[in-house]
């Protein structure tokens, strides 16, 4: 432990309102801490700069999963275990349940939250490509009110987000009625568990008459932020399923990602493997017969 606990202050307000009021009192100087599974790693390494922490871990207001007719609203404070155990999530949003199951180990899943994964804004966050593929919205709250934004606009640069200094992520809204979609996700890490992603692809597609009607592709760890592969989606939309799809898509995809060489992998590996994952997904579509 390289941090000195006496240099830190931690308060745990009993209600969301109190937390927001404190947050608003000195905007930017209080850092929310939920499960602490990202922040405590920094703390242990002596690299947690913020000295004032508001614990939001026990706020019940942030831990609901609300099932409305058009969408499901997941409280930002829901843990990975909450997600894995919720019947509507596992049935209708299996990619999120899977991403939750792939995140760290059981202990980490019992504490780590979805809101924490989003706010932490790592390009390798495993639920993030999934939320992008589900076209999620975020509800952000502050003492002065709340706003709703499309999640795909949230990450503005490496570790930069639209979250204002006095705001909290309140919940994540995912539209329902995805029954016509076929979905896919694969995490590629350095080992089969307890691994940070080298590449992540989440994909959804709706097909009719052997033609791609709607396709959503979202990738992690191939740029400064998790991204929707919008160009690739455009290239594939409306295409009949045939063996030139991957070639068509692979080129566009390579141009819209910005992978880097880092401590975990290489840009070259990330590019090739992301293409392979896309190939694996396309290959799995009914009627696909092309070689990957």
């Amino acid at each position: 432990m390289r941090a000195n606990p006496t240099e830190y202050e931690l308060v745990a307000p009993g209600t969301l309102q109190e937390a927001l009021a404190l947050h608003a009192s000195e905007p930017g100087s209080w850092l929310p801490i939920a499960g602490g599974t990202d922040l405590m790693v920094l703390y242990a390494a002596g690299r947690l700069q913020s000295r004032k922490l508001i614990s939001i871990a026990a706020l019940r207001e942030l831990r609901n999963i609300e099932v409305a007719s058009a969408e499901v609203r997941v409280g930002a404070g829901c843990t990975y275990t909450d997600l894995r155990q919720h019947p509507v999530i596992t049935k209708e949003f299996p990619l999120l349940a899977r991403a939750a199951a792939w995140t760290g180990g059981i202990a980490n899943q019992n504490r780590g939250t979805l809101g924490g994964n989003i706010a932490n804004a790592s390009p390798a966050g495993d639920s993030l490509p999934v939320l992008l593929a589900y076209d999620a919205d975020l509800i952000l709250v502050s003492a002065s009110g709340e706003r709703r934004i499309p999640y795909r606009t949230f990450h503005t640069g490496y570790k930069k987000t639209l979250l204002a200094p006095d705001e909290l992520i309140h919940s994540i809204c995912m539209p329902r009625n995805l029954s016509g979609y076929k979905c896919y996700a694969r995490k590629v890490g350095a080992r089969n568990a307890q691994a940070i992603s080298k590449v992540f692809l989440a994909a959804m597609v709706r097909i009719s008459n052997a033609t791609i009607k709607d396709i959503r592709l979202a990738a992690g760890s191939v740029g400064p932020v998790p991204i929707r592969l919008a160009g690739t989606e455009r290239a594939l939309a409306g295409q009949p399923i045939n063996d030139s799809l991957l070639e068509l898509a692979g080129k566009v995809m390579a141009e819209e990602i910005q992978p880097i060489d880092d401590i975990r992998s290489t840009a070259g590996y990330r590019t090739v493997v992301l293409r392979n994952l896309l190939g694996e997904f396309l290959q799995s579509l009914p009627g696909a017969r092309f070689a990957s």
Binding site: A44, N192, S292
Partner: protein
């Protein structure tokens, strides 16, 4: 007991053998499971300070100035530098070249320069940052090639810590007769031990009693020797006590002397107890790792695949100081020829200096490195000669009566061909190979089978055991139980349990009636370091002798009858102690007769016993992610005698897991001599879900030099998996791989290179694999 005629001589027990060969509960198991076991970080002494180490940031240079940040109130801290070393500023081991604290010249990153201590451990991190070491950098060397070029001399006169030459027969003549000459070059990387418990020590100084240290360590008397020199105190004024130790793997063989030294210097300067416990980052970047290696083979073969002779060039990266590199090199050199008959061979080896933290002891101790090369090379030979990997090995296996590269005669009735056949049968090798050849054509997951045959010598090399001159003690106590006195330590591998089993067996008393003393240098004799797979075999045998001595003392005295029941033994102990006082027996190592070893020519009996093994790996490579996964593993070995089946199997499985890490996952990323990825998120060791089902099979032909026929097994399982796995990957993909760790990125690169070279019609030559 199933002993062959060869070992009949060791069946010396009169009693029914019920303890040896059974899986009795671990001696310290209950305390570990209930949390009662006390590790160094659990211990707090009154008035204790916490110590921390300020380390060099550069790889090489001259210190100009050490300054202390004015933002910190240094009056609260105890500060020590090289000036405060009471005795000789070195870590006494083999050569005394490594300073305990840098005195002027920095030779590697993370080298200890300044020590600080404070009553509040949280006050340390910032203070460490507040010490600024200004230095003039000197050119540094970061690779074996750089060291060999000698553009900078960073150690001695030629950057070479040690070199060896083994010569057998006349290898210069074989090249002309050879039908095939096969060359190959093989590399292995550094590996971090990743014991669960990080390194830690507590030191206390008292002007009358001297220095006492408690800590996590393998070799109490190594620490003892180092502290005598460092503190300038006589033998009796240094006391070293091992606490419960949470794993070691060789990583707590030499470095604990450094930490004990630091804690002692601070304790002597402050007059207060001082505890130093490393966190994971410090432990990973600053302490020892497995030596990286490069091996070159050039082998002459006959048409039928028989080895005529060869040259082997083995080089290891020792880091900045000599530490244990010479002995690691020795073992690697002796194992370089594998379990094969070399009618002639020349093995040249050297350990070179680089400006990285010194590499050190790690399970296998050089053998995994040179055996990796040998076993990959066998597959390359097979391919070129046109034989299967199975057949090439079979034709060259050592047989009883033949000699190893050091001209040690194989006296035991080992049949390696038979081990090979059994191992292949357990792995369904033939059927699987056929299936994979068919399935691989259409699948994006390519599968392959690989084998490795190898041996591992137990005990110190050559004359080492004679020099160690180990002593074991045993006491009968006033309550009728028996206590073993050894400096051999428990760190998870089962020392306590197995030694108590041996004593109980030899005395004919229940396992529960035997305990083992804490390894405290004021109480136990020096039974040698707990390394080199020597404890069960060599120390175990001494425990058995000491037990027999104890029994004879009671019998000669008339207190105990010739034949007795366990309860009668207890009663005899009680009576003897009550009437006569101390009941103690000592046993000293006697080197076996007729054993010859020449330290100069490196000829003779390198080891008293070898364990033999054939491992088979089944591996898949997913061409979507280029990740290789070990799907199944068969580990068949001849280990003399299995003393404790659960512990023995645990050693094998654990070693294989660690070796899978060495082969496919664990990569130290170096930047200017410093480890960049000193965190478990970035230094990837395999987790349970990355491990295959492992089938462990034991063969037992006994060993006249080991307790109840046992041979050492601790290191053996580290040797074979990496080459077996790489051979399987080569089998699956048809692309040669000669370097470990082999990561998905490397597999992708090799495949891409092959595709590219295929596209260039001008260069149709493919490298053989």
């Amino acid at each position: 007991m199933r002993f062959c005629a060869y070992c009949e001589g060791v069946k010396l027990t009169e009693s029914e053998e019920t303890i040896i060969g059974t899986s009795v509960p671990r001696k310290e198991g209950r305390d570990k499971v209930t949390g009662a076991a006390r590790y160094v970080d659990d211990i707090r002494l009154p008035g204790m300070l916490y110590g921390a180490t300020v380390r060099s940031k550069i790889a090489r240079g001259k210190i100009k100035r050490i300054s202390f940040s004015p933002e910190i109130d240094w009056n609260e801290y105890v500060i020590a530098t090289a000036k405060d070393v009471p005795g000789k500023n070195c870590i006494a081991l083999i050569l005394d070249d490594q300073p305990c604290l840098v005195d002027g010249v920095i030779n590697h990153p993370e080298e200890p320069v300044v020590l600080i201590a404070h009553p509040d451990k949280h006050a340390l991190a910032k203070a460490v940052e507040g010490v600024v070491i200004e230095s003039d950098p000197l050119p540094a060397i970061y690779s074996m090639e750089g060291s060999e070029k000698q553009s900078e001399i960073i150690w001695g006169t030629d950057n070479i810590f040690k070199s060896f030459l083994i010569e057998k027969g006349d290898v210069d003549r074989v090249w002309a007769e050879a039908d095939f000459i096969v060359e190959g070059e093989y590399f292995t990387g550094a590996q971090e031990h990743l014991y669960i418990e990080n390194n830690g020590m507590i030191a206390v100084f008292d002007s009358v009693a001297g220095v006492t240290v408690w800590g996590s360590l393998q070799c109490p008397f190594y620490v003892h020797k180092a502290l005598m020199a460092l503190c300038g105190l006589p033998e009796e004024k240094i006391r070293v006590v091992q606490l419960e130790t949470g794993g070691a793997f060789g990583g707590k063989e030499e470095y604990p002397s450094m930490i004990a030294g630091h804690a002692s210097i601070l304790a002597m300067k402050s007059g207060r107890p001082v505890k130093i416990v490393y966190d994971r980052l410090e432990d990973m970047v600053a302490t020892t790792k497995r030596h990286p290696s490069r091996t070159r083979h050039r082998t002459a073969l006959r048409k039928d695949g028989k080895i005529l002779g060869g040259e082997i060039d083995f080089t290891i990266d020792g880091g900045a100081y000599a530490t244990l590199s010479s002995v690691v090199l020795s073992r690697g050199t002796i194992h370089a020829g594998g379990p094969y008959l070399w009618p002639s061979v020349r093995i040249r080896s050297k350990a070179v200096a680089t400006n990285t933290p010194p590499h050190g002891a790690f399970r296998g101790f050089g053998a995994p490195q040179s055996l990796f090369a040998m076993e990959r090379h066998m597959d390359r030979i097979a391919k070129i000669v046109g034989l299967s990997p199975v057949e090439i090995r079979r034709r060259n296996f050592l047989q009883p009566g033949q000699t190893t590269t050091t001209e040690q005669v194989i006296r035991e009735p080992i049949n390696l061909s038979d081990l090979l056949d059994k191992s292949l049968a357990h792995a369904s090798y033939k059927a699987k190979k056929e299936n994979f050849a068919r399935e691989n054509k259409t699948s994006s997951i390519k599968k392959g089978m690989g084998i490795a045959a190898f041996l591992h010598g137990a005990g110190f090399t050559g004359s080492g055991e004679r020099y160690l001159d180990s002593v074991v003690g045993m006491e009968g106590t006033a309550d009728g139980s028996v206590r073993i006195l050894v400096s051999s330590t428990e760190f998870g591998q089962g020392t306590n349990t197995v030694l108590c089993q041996i004593a109980a067996e030899a005395l004919g008393i229940p396992y529960e009636s035997v305990t083992i003393a804490q390894a405290d240098t004021t109480i136990v004799p020096n039974s040698g370091p707990t390394v080199a797979s020597r404890t069960a075999m060599i120390v175990g045998n001494l425990v058995r002798s000491a037990a027999i001595g104890l029994k004879q003392t009671l019998q000669l005295d008339g207190t105990l009858k010739k034949t007795f029941k366990p309860a009668e033994f207890g009663a005899a102990c009680r009576k003897y102690v009550a009437e006569k006082g101390l009941l103690r027996s000592l046993a000293r190592y006697n080197s076996p007769e007729g054993v010859y070893w020449d330290d100069v020519t490196y000829k003779g009996e390198a080891y008293a016993a070898y364990a033999w093994a054939v491992y088979v790996a089944e591996v898949s490579v997913d061409l979507t992610t280029y990740a290789a996964k070990v799907e199944n593993f068969v580990a068949l070995q001849e280990i003399g005698k299995v003393l404790h089946p659960v512990l023995a199997e645990g050693q094998i499985i654990g070693g294989i897991a660690q070796a899978i890490g060495l082969a496919l996952y664990e990569k130290v990323l170096w930047q200017n001599g410093r480890m960049l990825n000193g965190q478990m998120t970035n230094y990837i060791m395999p987790a349970s879900c990355d491990l295959p089902p492992i089938r462990v099979v034991f063969e037992e032909i006994g060993n006249p030099h080991g307790a109840y026929g046992a041979k050492g097994i601790g290191e053996l399982p580290m040797d074979g998996p990496a080459p077996a796995i790489l051979n399987a990957i080569v089998d699956a993909l048809g692309v040669p791989f000669d370097s470990i760790p082999l990561l998905p990125e490397d597999i992708l690169e090799a495949i891409t290179r092959r595709v590219q070279s295929r596209q260039q019609i001008t260069s149709p030559q493919e490298s053989p694999c």
